[in-house]
């Protein structure tokens, strides 16, 4: 299982928003600071914190917290 607290903390650190404002449906549409550059920073941060390598497709698809969790879970199994 993914450490939910850790994931929220990483998102909070990178996007600069408090963890309480992050929920499953948070996405670039609902969070203004989640722009394309921040998205890359997020990918880098997740790879480094969870010690995983994500493919370009995975990276591009991670467009909500829910999707991040699903994709990360899959990647960690490999």
């Amino acid at each position: 299982m993914i450490d939910d607290f850790k994931l929220k903390e990483v998102i909070s650190n990178v996007l600069g928003i408090p963890t309480v404002e992050i929920n499953n449906d948070s996405s670039p549409d609902s969070i203004e600071k989640w722009d394309s550059l921040s998205h890359l920073k997020l990918v880098m941060a997740i790879e480094s914190e969870f010690n995983v390598e994500l493919s370009p497709e995975d990276s591009m698809d991670m467009l909500s917290v829910k999707l991040i969790r699903i994709i990360l879970q899959d990647a960690l199994k490999k």
Partner: protein, 598 residues
């Protein structure tokens, strides 16, 4: 370093991109760090580096605010005075044009080019940088940092030693040499060795193809961190004044063992292990001396034992004459360092202390908090690494004066001992056979002038700090920037004085700045300098000369300078003094021979 929450945060371990993002956001809220505006012009998405540069700069005491120009907009930003580059009012401009982005075929299809095509391309690349850098220099005072050419993606070739791979490497080396030559000709322009950065990390460890193809980011997250560190260190080094002097212990520092107990034949100093560690350390210390660092000793020892080692030990590379001051006795080391500071006329804050004994280091730290103390590791094998990593001697501008500085301080020692032997000070000065030369600032002397303006504290009437761009501005506005060099029977001192003269009203001038390096204080050179200044101004039919003394903690020595030279106080509050050039003259000391550099 800052003592608040940010200071606290910076002492924590900051390792991952997520840590960097969090801490950089905290730094943005801080208002204790020194603010510094930076502009970053590049051919890729350099903004990704932001948290890394911000955090690494904060570790050095700076709060960076960085403007990232849209990528590949070099000319648009530089040639247009209303661009974001100039609006951000930068103190530092970084320029990173990657060959991979501008000329991808030079990387991947190197073999397709003929020799003449290659030459044309490199001329074109250098010419482009020349136009950019020269215009940027004209339009801005900022320090310029150019990142040289290196690549994560050289030509695909399975065999590294193939002729085409080798000629490509040589081509890039030449290109980088030309770039360095170009930057050396531009004032306050420095080069970061990106090529070395890439080859040092290893190509596979640098890049992340995903980041590159998705977003034109040429390096992976860990090399982004490393690159952020390199940039921050460069910026830090540009703005700091490096240490001038290293104070060394002897036993278990310059050799292994204790000479007082083991004797000259018992100490470890040879070409064999473990003596070779100390010999290599001595060689590196001599390397520092070659670069102008002054060497001194603070050791608790019997002086005769030590001198015997310097004179007779064949593997002792350092000789007595390499040291400008030797404090070898049984007094405590803090007072030894204070003596060295007085003897050599240098501030405690420009002294680095290197001693294997932690108790001595703690004592010096406690007694003299300004002295920079190297945290010396237990194992001598790591001494050099510790000295290197302390970064106390990191410096960018090594002028000729620096190179001969160590020699000059030694001559000063000789002079001081002569001073005690001679009959009177005037006799001594006469015997010095001093010669001074005065000239106007030009391309060659401006670096030294800038250096003196920024580091002279004692004999400095106004302590105004100017960059070379400021100096150029003063001259183009009609001011005069003079240098003074001096020589005497002991050797050449190089440029040791600066004066800046500004015409405030028609034919009325003011001495905006006047300074002398501490190594020539007390020789009446200042009087000769002032006399020359008066002569130069009179030749332009000036009739009044003003001077100002702005007191600081360190410049008391010049508080009565104008009074001594028969200037009249005209404004007590602002300490302005006036000399009527038609009525008075400054008498030149007869024992100083003066010439002009025409």
């Amino acid at each position: 370093m800052v003592k608040d929450t940010v200071g606290q945060l910076l002492t924590e371990i900051i390792k991952t991109p997520s840590d960097y993002s969090r801490v950089s956001r905290e730094i943005e809220k801080d208002d204790l760090l020194d603010k510094i505006n930076i502009s970053y012009l590049s051919s890729y998405t350099s903004e990704i580096l932001n948290p890394f540069i911000i955090v690494e700069l904060a570790k050095k005491g700076y709060k960076g605010s960085i403007y990232y120009a849209p990528f590949n907009q070099f000319e648009q930003e530089i040639h247009n005075e209303d661009s974001g580059l100039y609006l951000s009012d930068p103190s530092v401009v970084l320029i990173h044009s990657r060959i991979e982005d501008t000329h991808p075929d030079l990387i991947k299809r190197f073999a397709k080019y003929s020799d003449s095509e290659l030459t044309n391309l490199s001329d074109e690349i250098i010419q482009r940088h020349k136009l950019m850098l020269e215009d940027l220099r004209r339009k801005s005072d900022a320090k310029i940092i150019v990142i040289n050419f290196g690549s994560s993606q050289m030509i695909e070739e399975y065999f590294d030693s193939s002729p085409v791979v080798q000629s490509q490497q040589i081509y890039f080396q030449k290109l980088n040499n030309s770039l360095l030559d170009l930057c050396n000709k531009i004032i306050s322009c420095y080069v970061i060795d990106y090529h070395k950065f890439f080859t040092g990390l290893g190509l596979d460890n640098c890049s992340d193809p995903k980041l590159f193809y998705m977003a034109r980011i040429p390096f992976n997250s860990s090399s982004q961190i490393t690159f952020g560190k390199i940039i921050a260190r460069m910026i830090y080094v540009i703005f700091r004044v490096p240490a001038k002097c290293i104070v060394l212990d002897l036993d278990n520092t310059l050799w292994g063992g204790v000479v007082g107990e083991d004797g000259i034949s018992g100490i470890q100093l040879s070409d064999e292990y473990p003596g070779n560690i100390f010999k290599a350390f001595q060689r590196a210390i001599l390397g520092l001396r070659d670069q102008g660092v002054i060497l001194s000793i603070a050791s608790k020892n019997n002086i005769d034992d030590v001198l015997e080692v310097f004179e007779k030990h064949t593997d002792c590379l350092l000789k007595k004459s390499d040291f400008s001051s030797m404090q070898i006795h049984w007094e405590n080391k803090a007072s030894s360092i204070e003596k060295i500071s007085k003897e050599l006329n240098i501030g405690l804050d420009s002294i680095v202390f290197f001693d294997d004994n932690p108790a001595e280091r703690d004592w010096v730290r406690a007694q003299l908090p300004d002295v920079k103390v190297v945290e010396v590791p237990k194992n001598p094998i790591n001494y050099l690494k510790a000295l290197h990593e302390s970064k106390f001697f990191d410096s960018l501008i090594m002028t000729n004066e620096d190179r001969v500085r160590a020699d000059i301080y030694q001559q000063e020692q000789q002079r001081k001992s002569d001073l005690f032997n001679s009959v009177s000070v005037d006799d001594f000065l006469r015997e010095l056979k001093m010669k001074i030369k005065i000239g106007f600032s030009d391309d060659i002397t401006i670096t030294r002038i800038e250096q003196l303006l920024n580091k002279t504290n004692q004999f400095n009437l106004t302590t105004k700090r100017y960059s070379s761009s400021d100096i150029i501005k003063i001259i183009s506005d009609g001011g005069k920037v003079l240098w003074l060099s001096s020589a005497d029977r002991y050797g050449d001192n190089g440029i040791v004085g600066v004066a800046i003269l500004i015409e405030i009203k028609h034919k009325i001038w003011i001495i905006d700045s006047m300074l002398l390096s501490c190594r020539v204080i007390g020789r009446k050179i200042e009087t000769a300098f002032l006399a020359e200044i008066v002569e130069i101004l009179k030749s332009e039919s000036a009739y009044e000369l003003y001077g100002q003394y702005l007191p600081t903690k360190k410049n008391h020595i010049v508080s009565d300078f104008y009074k001594k030279h028969s200037f009249k106080l005209t404004d007590k509050k602002n300490n302005f003094w006036k000399l009527n050039l038609n009525e008075s003259d400054i008498i030149k000391p007869i024992f100083i021979q003066v010439s002009r550099n025409d």
